[in-house]
Amino acid sequence: MAAKPFWSWLFLCCVTWAQAQQIETRMLQNGMTVAYVQDTTRRMTHFGLTIRGGAALNPPGESGIAHLFEHHFWSSIDTLARQSSGLFTEQGVLASANTQTEHHGFFLTSSEDDADEALGMMYASLATCLYRPLQPIIFAELIAEIQAAENFPAYYLQTGMMNRMWQTSESAKDRIGKFYHIRQIDIDKLQAAIQPYLHPGNCLLSATGRKESESFFLWADSSFGSWYPVSAGAGLPSMKLPKLQKSEYWVEENAFCDDPILVMAWPVAGSRDLEGLGKLAHDFACVARTKSSAFYRDLVEAGRAKSIWWEWEGGYNPGQLVLKVSPFPDSIQACLSTISKTIEETTRYPSTWVTKKGWEAAAKQFRLAQSTAWDHSSIRLDLIGERWAAGDPEWSNTSVDGFSTTDKLAQFAKSHLFQQPHVAGLLIHPRSAAIASQQFTETTAIAGLASTTPEEPKDKNPATMTNGALGEFEKSLSPMRILFVGTTLEPDGASMTTLKTVASLCLAHPDQKLYVNGYSDGVGDGVKNYRLSIDRAQAVQTILVNNYGIKPERLIINPFGEAFAEFPDNTAANRHKNRRVTFTFAPAEAQPRTFLF
């Protein structure tokens, strides 16, 4: 057909056009950076003002300043009315804003006819927000927003994760603000906090519209070029890489949380990740959340969880890789076990945890998401502002990086994921909190979650080994393996001799507690294997107690299920060796555990 080449050509033109949109940049004489994307497909103009600062504006020990600044920014605009999606003004402009950990974003959308006024309004808001009295309505809106945030358990939990993960000042972590801090803020306090940040060198003006770029730059210069700040930029936010908090695990009740939410996070890179770790983490998340990944297969398809979602949270916040799972209330334990097993699979067997199709699907979904996001002009400016605020030297480069190869992703998983998550939490409705809390605590060992969980015995750091006679005891325990007859719970002959040795060592050191580590092979269901590893450890404990008189409270059952296999599960002999019990020192405060299944 003759029509086909023409339309194919048109299509190619459109695609090429869509990809050819570039970010053009200038720097004004006062040091302000300006960015522009020409887009001839719509009659609207969007403006963005990104200011480095964000929650870092909050003075030590206080919160709410940053968020109040966000709400106060547009207060110089007399509103005709407000809508839930934002703020419509009499000038035919839609305004919105957000506060991030380290930057603010202010956005205006107008029709082409009103773009002049919109840009003027942006400058006027910036100039007058410092001196305009704080209106009671602003406080009321802010408090309503804080209350609303608490009604979204997932959002609330996610904000909490960020706070628990990264070591910044108490106030800087809190992007939303606390009631009792907010009530104490007045205009002087707000001015003192934000003035040092309102410096042209600390701001990015961005825009997208049909205008030619050069005329936009002239336009920007006439509006913002004469802006010189009260202070000369002293006290600009120090952009240090954030440090990690102490590792933390918790269970929290939330009456808005109908279904349990389990979240765990691994730190990857700071918000100024210039080594591309964020990209790898992002691509890993894209692959891990496909329906072809082992996580989906073992958690959702296996009926343990309603949904799972891997996400890379970075760019505008310190970067972390987050796994959110919505387990069925009676499967929290099974989910933890499965996650542990699957993470191990991603690092040890990189070719099996996701199929080639799954990787291809992730790459396609990645391209689709990018295309969709870029289709919305306002989102486009937000993305540009984020990258600029994060100090990315490539912030104005729109070329799309390729999707990471499976080898690279496996390498990433090995270096960043093969460790316990740094923070993990479970949000649960009060009606099921008691049982879930117990489950969560007791099963942290298998997911490698709890800070008190012993590391896998053979990986133990020699520097932590005990010296003297006790040290000898510990050293001699390390290679001991109790193996079993077939798949039974009965130790074989050689292992009975080993047990006798263990017993004599225990009797010689009556104050030392031991972890009795149980393992299974990898055949069959992960949860059943976890149960088997408990049974094996308990069988060994029973022999030591009944045959040799060791006190049961000195022997702490510590099951690992099929995790930490010493040999590939490909032969019967190897599987036999993987079905084992080992011993490691337990701290004096270690207590016996109750297992729910």
Partner: protein, 439 residues
């Protein structure tokens, strides 16, 4: 001129160039166009296709049903949400979701008050595969019991909590304003729990006329030609039953009625309707603009400043009969009703200044622009226009808005917007019914 090899060659080149540069005569003529994009309509295998020429691709399969369903169960809404999570007779929901993901597609349900759709997003090169999968889903759907039952439970809960929820009241009330019970929505009585559809009923609906070609519109937003769209339909959507969709019977509004339910304490609700110009008339655009302007004004006055209401909605609705509809929910409905009536009276009596109309026009222009910003917004807008048969509203809205004069507002309100009816739930002791009917 002698006929030789050179002239033959040149003729062939010219003919090729001509064919190359001209679209096929099958390409429909755009019936809405601007310098930014154009919209064309055609029919293929009994399916209405609406094509929006845009750089980026977006596909949407829409069906003419929404929550204004026949018996007020909201069953169609749940069905559509359930469809997006369903499997097929050959594939479990998990397998279907995985197949779609592997084919590079993303599927969402779109449920509006008056039509429902399945939204497909994918990159152009994945379109064929994705379309085959959607075709399979519509031809051989099998609802996912776990997900669908959860939806039904949620729906059930929303109905029981609706006793306290004013939004529910407002949605329920409009049913009282129509003459035909068939268009009524949910019974406002709190004891209407028996109207929850069952899973079996939903399954039965899959084989009914809802998912037939006559009840469907395919919206393609992106750089595709007729032939390519036809290729997609063949073997997928054209396998659906043609269906037997009778023309919709016209519905009539009650006029000059004030229905009152006394509720002395707590939140109340109001639903008011006026007859309005048909969407085929140019005045419909003015009526739509008036509704949008008054909505913002009443939100500012009643919700923001005086806090008499929690929410306020004012819309021009072209189907099943053109009307303006005002919904308000909140603690002080008597005063809110009086004030809303007063604002309308002002608009009707030429009290809108040129300045306030100008500012309203400016943000209204932005509202229209936003409706057409992205490919998906375009697709939703044209689907709505198709089902409402009010394309008249979407031709150059910005230019038409500029031409709107203060005198147009009272003219349209006085000429078309008559026959007000109110349904009121709240403290009736303070309510002056006559003042409401004076509009």
């Amino acid at each position: 001129m002698p006929f030789n090899r050179h002239t033959t060659f040149i003729s062939l080149i010219l003919a090729t160039l001509l064919l190359w540069g001209c679209p096929s005569n099958k390409q429909p003529k755009p019936f809405l166009s601007s310098d930014l994009t154009s919209v064309a309509r055609f029919e293929f295998s009994g399916i209405s296709v609406i094509q929006v020429q845009q750089a980026r691709l977006h596909m949407q399969v829409d069906f003419l049903f929404g929550n204004l369903d026949r018996n007020g169960q909201g069953a169609e809404q749940i069905l559509m949400k359930g469809l997006a999570q369903a499997g097929t007779s050959q594939k479990s929901p998990h397998e279907f979701a995985r197949s779609l993901e592997n084919a590079g597609g993303r599927l969402e349900a779109l449920v509006a008050a008056d039509f429902s759709g399945l939204r497909l997003k994918c990159m152009p090169e994945d379109l064929k595969n994705c379309f085959q999968l959607i075709g399979d889903l519509l031809l051989n759907p099998k609802l996912n019991p776990r997900y669908t039952i959860e939806l039904l439970e949620e729906w059930d809960q929303s109905k029981s909590t609706a006793k306290m929820d004013p939004t529910f009241w407002a949605d329920s009330l409009q049913g009282l304003l129509w003459l035909e019970a068939s268009t009524a929505t949910v019974d406002p009585s709190p004891s209407a729990d028996d109207r929850i559809p069952t899973f079996t009923q939903l399954e039965e609906m899959l084989t009914g006329p809802l998912l037939s070609r006559c009840n469907m519109a395919l919206v393609v937003s992106g750089p595709l030609d007729v032939e390519s769209i036809g290729d997609l339909i063949v073997g997928s959507l054209d396998m659906l039953p043609e269906g037997d969709c009778p023309p919709q019977s016209p519905k009539s509004l009650k006029t000059g009625v004030v229905e009152v339910l006394h509720k002395p304490e707590g939140d109340g609700a109001i639903c008011a309707t006026w007859l309005a110009p048909s969407s085929n008339l140019p005045d419909a655009f003015v009526a739509d603009a008036i509704a949008k302007m008054l909505e913002i004004k009443l939100q500012d006055l009643l919700v923001k400043k005086l806090k008499l209401a929690h929410a306020c909605r004012f819309q021009y609705i072209p189907k099943p009969a053109p009307h303006l509809r005002l919904d308000m929910m909140g603690p002080q409905m008597s005063q809110a009703a009086e004030l809303a009536a007063s604002e309308l009276r002002k608009a009707k009596n030429l009290e809108m200044s040129a300045t306030s109309l100008d500012s309203a026009k400016r943000w209204l222009g932005l509202v229209y622009q936003q409706e057409l910003e992205s490919s998906s917004n375009w697709a939703t807008t044209v689907a709505k226009a198709h089902f409402h048969e009010n394309w008249n509203m979407y031709g150059n809205p910005t230019e038409r808005l500029k031409a709107l004069l203060p005198s147009h507002v009272p003219y349209v309100l006085q000429k078309h917007c008559t026959g007000v009816s109110w349904v009121f739930v709240g403290d009736t002791t303070k309510l002056d019914k006559k003042s409401l009917l004076r509009l």
